[in-house]
Structures are given as C-alpha cells and as structure tokens.
Symmetry: D2
Subunit: 284 residues, 4 copies
Amino acid sequence: MQQTFRLVIDCPDQVGLVAAVSQFLANHNATIIEASHHTDQQTGRFFMRHEIRADSLPLSLEAFRGLFEPIASQYDMHWRLSDSHHKQKVALLASKESHCLNDLLHRWHTHELHCDIPCIIANHPHLQQFADWYDIPFHWVDFETLGKPQAFSDIRKLLLHYQIDLTVLARFMQILPDDLCQDLAGKAINIHHSFLPSFAGARPYQQAYDRGVKLIGATCHYVTSDLDEGPIVEQEVMRISHSDTAADMVRKGKNCEKQALANGVRYHLEDRVIIHQHKTVVFA
Amino acid sequence: MQQTFRLVIDCPDQVGLVAAVSQFLANHNATIIEASHHTDQQTGRFFMRHEIRADSLPLSLEAFRGLFEPIASQYDMHWRLSDSHHKQKVALLASKESHCLNDLLHRWHTHELHCDIPCIIANHPHLQQFADWYDIPFHWVDFETLGKPQAFSDIRKLLLHYQIDLTVLARFMQILPDDLCQDLAGKAINIHHSFLPSFAGARPYQQAYDRGVKLIGATCHYVTSDLDEGPIVEQEVMRISHSDTAADMVRKGKNCEKQALANGVRYHLEDRVIIHQHKTVVFA
Amino acid sequence: MQQTFRLVIDCPDQVGLVAAVSQFLANHNATIIEASHHTDQQTGRFFMRHEIRADSLPLSLEAFRGLFEPIASQYDMHWRLSDSHHKQKVALLASKESHCLNDLLHRWHTHELHCDIPCIIANHPHLQQFADWYDIPFHWVDFETLGKPQAFSDIRKLLLHYQIDLTVLARFMQILPDDLCQDLAGKAINIHHSFLPSFAGARPYQQAYDRGVKLIGATCHYVTSDLDEGPIVEQEVMRISHSDTAADMVRKGKNCEKQALANGVRYHLEDRVIIHQHKTVVFA
Amino acid sequence: MQQTFRLVIDCPDQVGLVAAVSQFLANHNATIIEASHHTDQQTGRFFMRHEIRADSLPLSLEAFRGLFEPIASQYDMHWRLSDSHHKQKVALLASKESHCLNDLLHRWHTHELHCDIPCIIANHPHLQQFADWYDIPFHWVDFETLGKPQAFSDIRKLLLHYQIDLTVLARFMQILPDDLCQDLAGKAINIHHSFLPSFAGARPYQQAYDRGVKLIGATCHYVTSDLDEGPIVEQEVMRISHSDTAADMVRKGKNCEKQALANGVRYHLEDRVIIHQHKTVVFA
C-alpha cells in the first residue's frame, strides 16, 4: 500500500484558507491523491481532508507538523495529520453474536482494514474460537460474576493496557457507563441494528416487525452517553415484506449491520470522518 | 387490459381452506393469473389473493359472489371480490407542492393507475393549473377563511358528492380530524416525507438534517387518527451525505415520495393490500 | 429449526391443478407454512412450492411420495419433495480470494446455511487455513503440476467421493470443462463479479472501470457450458463514482459477491429455485 | 436562487495547480460554496470544480475570465466559467412515450431544473398536449413523410434556430446520424432503458426478460455516433423477479429512466460533468 499522509482540518470558514493550505502543500511539492472539502453553510464551519503521497514530500510527519502549525494557528484550525502506514490499535468488543466480529476480522486479515487488533473483549466466552483462529488475545469479562461496575473497570484497564486507539462495539450488548463514553468520545464506534432514530433501544427488529415497516436497517455511530444518539457515520437498509418474521429480519439485517459497521470503521481508520457537534462529515 | 376478477380473503388459518377455494375456482374453470398466500404465524391469520381471468369464468361478478358466500361463511372469511374493469373513484388532496399530484396524474393519464379521478381538492389555489390540464374539477377549500371545522365539513361533502372510494393525500398539509379519519378508515392513503417511524410530525427533512442521518425516505401509509402511525404500505429511501442541506433533502426526497405514493396507490387500486391490525399484507 | 417438507412442482398450467394439490394436502391434514405460485404466461408453465410442517402430516417422506405420485403423473409434473432436516452435501471450490469462502463458512457455522460442507477444493494452497479453522478437509488440486484435464478429473473424483449434492464456485477461477458442466447441471452455482450480461469473461471490474459505469455488481448463476450464460439466481449492485479505481471496485464489489452468492446458495438449499429453460423462478 | 459562478477545470495534474487556483480565488475574495477535486491516477489528468458566490466577487464573469486566462494557459487547462443565473437553452426530443418528457417538464416548471426549454421536437404528434400545457412550441417532424435525411435536417435547423445548448433525447426513438452526433458532441444527452452495457440496442426490457436478470435499469449518457456507447453520466437500477413480465419491466423501468435522465440533465446544467475520453467525472 502506497504510503500517504492525511491532513484533516476543520475550522471557521474564511477566504484564503484553501489557498494557504494549497500553497503550503505546493511549496513542499506535495502530490495530492485525494482532496475533499465541505462547508457547513449553517454553522459556517469548513472541513477539508487531503491525502498526500508521502514520497512526494521532503518532510517527515513531525517536520510537516511543525511547519504547518503556524498556518493552523492563524486560521484557528482543529487539525490532525496521520501516516497511512501507522496502524491504529483497535479493540473489538462482542457478546455472543459473531457476524460482525467475523466480518471485521476477515477484512482485517485481508488488509481491507488497515489496523492492529491487539485484543478482543467479550462479556461471554462463546466467541473465543474466532480470536484463536486469528491469533488474537481474547478476554472474557464475566459481567454476571463481576457485576457491571467491576466489569467495565476491567474493560477500561484492558483498553489502557493495550493502548487502544479505537474501540469497536461489534454487537456488544452492554451499555457503556457515562464516564467511559466520555473518555472514549470520538474513539468508540457502535453498530445499532436499526435505521436510527427509528427503533432505538432494545430488540429493534422486534420493534420493526411490530410496527410493520417495509425496510429494515443498521446504523454505525459514535458512542455517546445518550444511548443510540451518537453521531451517525453510516447507515444501510434493505427491503423486507409482510412475509418476513422478526427472525427473518434478524437474519437479513445482519448483512446491513456488517456492511455499515465495516464501512464506518474503515472511514474512521482512514481519517475520513470529522465529528461536528452531534453529526459527522464523512469524506467517503 | 385483460379483465380479471380479484378475490381477496383473510380468515383464521385452518386446514382445508386453500383446497376449498381452489376447488371452487377449478369447478368454475377459473384460469388463475396470479395467486398469493400468506400466513401470519404469530396471529394465525391467513391471507390470500387470486387474480382470475374473467373470460375463463362462466359467471358474472354477482353470481360468483353468491356462489362463494357459503364457503366464505364456513371459513369465517373477511373477503372481497372485485372486477379489474371497475374503476375506483379517487380524490386527490393537495396543498402547494405539485410533485406528487403531477406524478399521480401522469400515471393515471397513461393508464398505469387504473381509476377515475373525479376531483382534486386543495387548501390553496396554486395547483388549479394541473387540474385544468387534466380536465378535472378543482375545489379550493380555503382553510383560512372557513376555519378548520367548516373546511373539513366541505371536504367531507365533496368526497360524498363524488362518491369517492379512495382519498389520496398527495402532500396535503392539513391533519384530518379524528371522525373523518375513522370514516375513511382503510380508504385514505397519505405520503409522509420520512422513513417512519423516524421523523414523524412536522418538517421531517429538517429533523433528518438535524439528526445527521445518512439516508432519507418517504412512507406511504393508511390514514388513522394517530398521526403518522397508520399501517405502512410502502417505503422508499435514498442515500444522502453531509453535503446535502435540508433543501437538498427536500429536493431529493421528492423522488422517494412520488415513488412510494404511486406504488401504494397502485397496490390499493389493484386490491393488493390487506390491512391486518395496524400493519399491512401487500401482495406486490 | 422446525422440520418441514418442501413440495416443489412445475408442470403445464391447467385448471384444477392447484385444487388437486391443495386437496391432497388437506386430506393429509397438512399445515402449510409457506405457499408460492407462479405461472409463466409466455410458456404456459406453472410453478408451485409448498413448505409444510412435517409434524402436521401423518406421513413419512417416502409415504408422501408414494401417495402423491398419481397426482404428479396425472398433471405431468416435474416435482421434488424434500425434508428440511436433510442436509445437502456442499463442496466449496475456491482459488486465492477468501471473501466468499469465509462468508459462506461463517453462514454455515452459524446455521444460516443448513447443509454439510464435507470438503473444500482449491487450485491453490492459500486458503487451507480457513478449512482448518472450520475443521473441513481441504484438497489442493494443483492445476500447474497436473494439467487441466487431470486436475478436473481429480475434482470430479472428489465430488463423487464426498457424494456432493451442490458444488459452489466461490470465486474459483478455473473454467469447468463442458462435460463436467453437463454432469453438474442444476447442481453447481457460480458467482461472477459483474452484473451479467455486462462484463462477462475475465477481469470484469477492469472492464467496468474502462467503460465508466456508475454501478457495479455481482451475479450468482447456475453453471452451464456457456460461460457466464447460465440461469441467473440472484444479482446485487452498488453505486460507484469516477473516484473509484478498479482496485476500489474490486474491494467494494466483494460485498455484492458475498451477498449474491450467499442468497443464491440459500435459495438453492431451501428448494426455492426452479430452473426453467435458461432462467429461474426463485420463490425467495 | 443564490447566484454563483462555476469554474470547471481539467488539465494535466501537477504540483502547484490547486494553490494557483485557490490563490487566485482568495485574491479576489471569493467565497467558495462547493469545491470538488479528482485526479485520474491512470491518465494523470486533474479535474476541479468550484462553485463561488457571485456576490463575493468584485468581478463580472467577463473580467473573471480575462484575469484567469493566464493561469489557465500556464497550466494548459481546459476550462469553463459559467453563471448559475444564465439559463441554458434545452431542446427536448421525444416520440410517443411521455414519462420522461413529463418528468423533465415538471422539474423545470418547479425550478428543479434551471434552464429554458424553447422547444419540444417529436417524430410523432402524440405529445403535443404536454407542450401546450407548459406553453412550449411543439414541432412534429414527420419521419415517415419526410424520410430520415430530411427529418434530421429539419431537426438540425430547429436546434440552430432556437440556439439550443443542450439536446435531451427523452425517449426519442430515432438514431441520430453520425454527423449530427459529432456536431452535438458533449451537448446531447440520451436515456437508454437498460443498465448499459447490458442490453444495448432495441427492446432492452424484452432482452432483459429473455435473459432472466434480477435487476433492470436505465442509463443516461452522452450521445455519440457509437450507439449506446457514449460516456455514462448516471445509472439507476431496481430489483425485479420472475413474476415480472416484460410489460411489468417496461412499467417499473420508467421510474429508473425518469430518475437517471433527470439527474443526468441536472448535473449537466449545473456544470457538474466533465467528459474525459469516453467516461465522465460527475461532481454530484
């Protein structure tokens, strides 16, 4: 995979901004692979992402950062610069359902998801096998024995121990406590098995069945302390009919869940997502 | 268009039911064009629709009804038999937005929707032109001058006067009073501009924009006195992104609205919908 | 999983047919879970599938077959009766790409696909690991060393040895010889990575890139000796744009391939597909 | 509608290009509403579109052009600058089918399509009514009486007379002669009723029916002398099943046709499309 630097910016919109960034990049001879812009007309906020060929730059990541800092200050930017060769450390949290876990592991294994997965954490022991297959440490945190506070304390320790950058709730059926949500703000992604805001909360497919909708879906979003209210990264839907039972919806919906979560995680790992207030800009 | 009889049945599920109906049809030499069955496993209710070539039957609609009645009684059926050549009388109710109105009128004009449209009723005068083009009486019911109770009383009179079978709210922006909802139960179809149950109520695209969803949609449903809670007939969705403003969503969403409403109306006119409790069986 | 018998019929359309079958089922007290009918108006062929609760019948599968035979003869039916508890033996054929293989294995492992998978056969050794994980015998048939005729002769022997009912080409990149196609007629399913008939043959994503289409797709079809011309069971598409390279299409298209193949295999295993001339009826 | 200037560029990719354009825009205090970039990695071609608030610029369109010219020369740009308030003159060509014509007319009438429609040309008289409703001159060019060469000569004269900028073939069932295709290169858009390259040529729905595909579609493309081979702007697809006849496909497919054509025309009118060789970049 070609090495790139990703420069991701958001700041108040103003004239001269793009010129300043472009001129900076041109001055350092940057070959731009991909450039994306967005202005939120309502809030006057500007968003920009550049993907730059690393070998076109006579600069290290650190040197780039140092040189860019004055521009960032001048325009009051919130910004980050990352190296595509740097692998984020991703923890996968799961329960008993394996479809999202297996899907993410396979995409990681085949290099579609460029990251490290140093651990899998689960509140049930059932999915150990998948961790073993992919040779990843598996931690069963037994909520029943430990109780919720201790269990989450253990999870928090594991995330720290493994120096996790991104926590992915791959159908992890426990609600994270508020303080953990806050500590993981912008660094934890969940998949909810409905097209939010419809059917938040428990048993969304049963809710969908009871309401008689003609489409079901899944929503990948950042975790916040407001359950199922976090910024949405990706959604998938599919058509169903009266002949689908709630069990059919569970089966069919898994395809939406896998797809939405995999896309959401990939967008995050490739620095394609910017959280703005309670929404996202996704340069897909 | 080939003339068909449509036999639509729902009743408690029981052994022998299909055989009885099929035997009846075979005895009268019926050529079946289309047959659809569904059993709701949860409620034990059975649903069936047959579309039969009229010229294969040595029976008039009335004679068929008379002969079928004993079977219907025996199995405690809720049933109807209709003639595809009979045109239902459809009233279109609109406000200022013309996209759904124009779409339905064109589909009717080109025989995709097989019905009569004896009148268009609107709470604003803006869409008169479309009625004139298609040579359909246009009734402007001025809610501001008349007040809501009188206005709806006038609408009710118009529906009676024109002997309306189906009332279609083609982006009619007034909430029907409870008693009218009840009188039109199963005979009034609305289009709501969101994928219900998300964003019920006012300004759904603005709600969708504010929530930051990645898909927008539209829902065609029967009107009930619980606003936006009626049985869903059809839903459409489409993908959007952070770059879509609420105005973009309004523009794009119209395509979903037109499609969902046109399908819903067609399914109803072709006797493809059976309302069961607060849901629908749609033999599309 | 509830045990069912699946009665699948196709025959010349004629009056009395449905009555005869329904009466037969009613006489044996059959509880029908699902019933699907279709008449091909052009060819006058009738298709029917019933899914019947096994415990509602006082008959074994064999007894059912014996009793139904006279009706089948009378109406000149092509028919089959299968037991949902009987597991078909499925061979998976693969090359180097693992996404379809992994997807099918996981769906089988989690009981979404109800079958046995007694062997995996590949023309490269790379995917051995997946077979090992799922504890399935893996046969590497080395085309380079053996040459094509011997290699396919070996594959044929393996299919016979394992008494394979269904052969699934899960991105198996070798073209089956004519005689094998004929022997496996209706019993071998392939996934082609384009929305056929567009981009048949080699490197379909590159073809799609070169043509500049705005949608890519995948097609699941029965294998015939006319390459990529077999009866289509399922197709999936997704939107792309000018910014997608051929490599992006390869990555994105995998999602279509997995979905189309998994659906196609499931439809086949659940006796939902009837091949008619070079097309399929799929009671999905 | 807010007035904007649209600057659309394609040129060989090179370092400094974006900086030069951005600096130029910043120097003139341009407020950028929308900016889109793309680099074709294979051909090394760069594409860029800016939408700029006209009232943020102290320049007329002409003055802008004059000042930008040196930059354009320096970077060997193919470029255009247009004013969103300038309405292109669009001719609609039709035959007997009205769905695309009616759809485009309604979108134009409701200001979704920002253009003038000075004339409708048809090879049959049937659609005169729609032209009359929208008060647009209707020209029936009678191919049978005139013969093809004279008929197209007449059409060419009409396009010249009305100073047409864009010719839209809204299900116009005549094949344009080569020389007219060449003269209208990049300025004529067609809708083909299949997902090209599948089912080019005549009766695509019948072809789709005969092949047994599970999806049908429509393709909006620029007209070239290679029939159905022009650069694709937009495609739409929808799911069908074995129960859909060719006639059902005709009916259902119209929704794809309308949607794909309307999008394609809008993209063109908003200067969102750049033709590159035989493909398009669409900044949708």
